[in-house]
């Protein structure tokens, strides 16, 4: 079924920034429709052949991506601009799914792909957006797992040479935000937080204009929903001494919607020269640091996803090094598991490889060096610290006070 026959190299220019996407999709949509029409035409033709033709659909799957070093560096690409010079070498293989094929498995895969193509076709022609979850739940017995849908959607997008958004398929948004005033319809009151305004990060970004964000003085990206709720309860978005700001959480690893949302806000701020520093608050553990890097480093695997990275994302904490002398905080640390240690070494190794050296100084004003020191310190002590460990009213104003001090200090460097 799967042909490893071809392994061509493509020079693929990076897609333009996300804000351009939403206006230029007609051309991309037609590329998808063309692919679908051609696929169906071929199938019809094959069905008409006697005794039997080869009914199949051919997709391309990404095998390996090689970023060309230097040109994909965050520092040299402005956001909102087309990075014409930045290229990636992509190797892919042709996957041919035949029907009925040689095995029941092959027939199943063919069916899944056709079903997905049908959904995409409908979405484009009806001018609506569907989520990957929607597609899965239309026929869960067929697809069996969400991953099946996700994978073929990626392959279809790559085959057509478009991004997933051009298929009119988006991931279900999981991000939450607080601090923006959009339409009254979007506002909901989560349990136990009366009077707070928490909204879902929507995938429809055209509604958000520069005016909506003009009051913002900062953005804080928070790893955990629990910490997000704490800050919302304390009205940190309106009562921070730096002025009103936006608090966002993707409840863990960022989904594409949250990425694009943040990038959109930052791009809008750039158009009006509004200074808008963006900070991250994550647990002091390998996952937390990895989540920060997810937001700040350009994505690797999905080359056809737009570059929504935030290279200026400033890591506020938690940095265990800040608390080493505080036994009360250190005693609340958790033990680093074997997996954590492996991950910490892995992240440290990748950062060293990317930067070409282990640590550059103490990391004053340099988030990456601070992060490497933090990873080494975690490994030395065999512990990690959650955000909750520093949320103690006795520690000078609790979480909010500590955040404010960090944000003020960050502005200074």
């Amino acid at each position: 079924m799967e042909n490893d026959a071809d392994s061509d190299m493509l020079d693929v220019p990076l897609p333009p920034g996300p804000s351009r996407h939403f206006n230029n999709s007609a051309y991309e949509n037609s590329k998808v429709l063309t692919f679908i029409n051609n696929t169906i035409d071929n199938i019809n033709a094959a069905l008409c052949v006697w005794p039997h033709g080869e009914v199949n659909v051919v997709l391309k799957r990404v095998k390996e991506i090689e970023h060309q070093r230097g040109t994909v560096n965050n520092a040299s690409i402005g956001h909102g601009q087309t990075s014409k010079n930045a290229k990636m070498k992509v190797s892919y293989r042709q996957m041919k799914y035949s029907w009925p094929g040689n095995t029941p498995d092959e027939a199943w895969r063919f069916t899944c792909i056709l079903a997905i193509l049908h959904e995409i076709n409908t979405a484009i022609l009806s001018n609506i957006t569907v989520t990957k979850r929607d597609i899965y739940y239309r026929q869960p017995e067929l697809f069996r797992k969400q991953e099946t849908v996700d994978r073929y959607i990626d392959d279809i997008a790559f085959t057509c040479g478009v991004t997933r958004k051009d298929l009119r398929v988006t991931a279900s948004p999981k991000g939450l935000l607080c601090g923006l005033a959009l339409t009254a319809n979007d506002i909901f009151e989560p349990d136990n937080i009366p009077g707070a305004r928490v909204q879902l990060v929507s995938s429809d970004l055209d509604d958000i204009t520069a005016q909506h964000i003009s009051h913002l003085r900062w953005i804080l990206v928070v790893e955990k929903e629990a910490s997000f709720k704490t800050l919302v309860e304390k009205r940190f978005d309106t009562q921070c001494s730096l002025g009103p700001g936006l608090i966002v959480t993707a409840k863990g690893y960022p989904d594409l919607n949250t990425h694009l949302f943040l990038r959109h806000i930052l791009d809008l701020a750039r158009t009006t020269s509004q200074p808008l520093p963006v900070f991250s608050l994550v647990d002091c553990d390998p996952d937390g640091l990895d989540i920060h890097r997810c937001y700040s480093t350009p994505p690797r695997p999905n080359i056809h996803e737009a570059d929504a990275s935030i290279p200026d994302l400033h890591w506020l904490g938690v940095d265990i090094i800040e608390w080493l002398g505080e036994k009360r905080v250190m005693d609340r640390c958790l033990t680093l598991t074997k997996r954590d240690r492996g991950r910490a070494r892995g992240i440290l190794g990748r950062m060293v490889e990317d930067d070409g050296e282990a640590v550059v100084g103490m990391g004053i004003g340099d988030g990456r060096s601070r992060m490497k020191r933090c990873l080494q310190t975690m490994l030395m002590l065999g512990v990690k610290a959650e955000i909750q460990a520093v949320d103690d009213e006795a520690v000078g104003g609790g979480l909010c006070g500590w955040l404010e001090r960090g944000m003020v200090e960050a502005r200074g460097y």
Binding site: G325, R345, V359
Partner: protein, 329 residues
């Protein structure tokens, strides 16, 4: 009987980043940090100049260094779980070989050498102790002397992560300490468990046998320093005074004093006889200290008569050298 110590000298920026590992010979201080290089500074000259850089020893940084009592062999361990062996020859440290990495070896952590540098003991993340026999061989091709390491013996401590290890100066005992607070004493020759010492119930990060091999000092997150009788396994004393996690301990040459360092930047000197703290030094900025060591003195009587000195290495990358205020012997 109070002792006064003064900060004699600071080697600013000995490393660009945090110093995690420090050891000393009568003439040198050897340090490892979050950067790839090991640094060697002279203790003979009053301005402690840098004598040697062992460049790119460990790409992800160094967490442990140990030197044999005869100062001929040095072993360093990096965050990538790799270990390097160095030998002192013609006045400099030369690369003598790498510790062989075995599959499923487990993450190598703390290391100690026996007094002659013939055996290297290392702990792992999962509670094993490995011993390698070191042998000097002549490398035919280069004509350089190399040190090979052969796995000699391995045993389980059942204590989990081996945070620290020490071999007694008479080589009879090997001790390991763990996050549970457990401290084990093994016979070096038979690897049999001799004692499971009364635990501190908190991670014990540093253990050291006294120069006479009669006592074992242990300390960690409980902020207490325990002194045990190495033969009977009984607790002999508890030294109180630190407020934060203790990372490092060392015995003075005569065994009369202990020096301890902790993560809030405080260093304390203790009289073993009176079980009291006789002096406390604080890093100006409260930066954590990862290692403290008395500077070994030379063999001559005039050397022995000199004031005691100790070194510290920690966050910020500076090495601090402290000396006794009065030149006592």
């Amino acid at each position: 009987m109070s002792k006064q110590y003064l900060a004699q000298h600071t080697i600013d920026d000995a490393h660009q980043t945090d110093i995690f590992a420090i050891t000393a010979t009568p003439a040198q201080i050897i340090t490892g940090s979050g950067s790839p290089d090991l640094k060697v500074h002279s203790t003979v000259q009053s301005d402690f100049p840098q004598e040697q850089v062992l460049k790119d020893a460990h790409p992800l940084g160094t967490h442990h260094v140990t030197v044999s009592a005869d100062h001929s062999t040095l072993v360093s361990v990096g965050f990538g779980s790799e270990a390097k062996i160095w030998r002192f020859s013609d006045g400099i440290w030369k690369s003598a070989g790498d510790l062989p990495s075995a599959k499923k070896a487990g993450e190598l952590w703390a290391v100690a050498l026996d007094s002659e540098g013939k055996y290297l003991v290392g702990t792992t993340y999962d509670g094993r102790v490995n011993v390698w026999e070191l042998a000097r061989v002549l490398d035919e091709k280069s004509g350089e002397e190399k040190i090979t390491a052969q796995k000699f013996v391995e045993w389980e401590t059942r204590g989990g992560f081996g945070l620290a290890v020490d071999v007694s100066p008479d080589n009879a005992m090997t001790a390991t300490s763990h996050p549970s607070g457990n401290i084990y004493l093994f016979s070096t020759s038979t690897t049999r468990l001799l004692h499971s010492l009364p635990t501190q119930s908190a991670p014990v990060r540093t253990i050291k046998f006294s120069p006479g091999s009669t006592l074992l000092a242990a300390a960690g997150d409980s902020t207490l320093i325990s002194l045990y009788d190495a033969k009977s396994g009984e607790t002999v004393a508890l030294l109180r005074g630190h407020d934060s996690w203790i990372t490092s301990l060392d015995w003075s040459y005569t065994g009369e004093y202990l020096v301890s360092a902790s993560l809030d930047g405080k260093v304390k000197i203790w009289s073993v006889e009176t079980r009291t703290c006789v002096c406390t030094m604080t890093d100006g900025e409260g930066r954590g200290i990862w290692g403290v060591k008395w500077l070994p003195k030379g063999e001559t009587s005039s050397e022995r008569g000199k004031a005691e000195r100790f070194v510290t290495g920690g966050n910020g990358g500076s090495v601090g050298i402290y000396r006794e205020a009065s030149g006592a012997s």
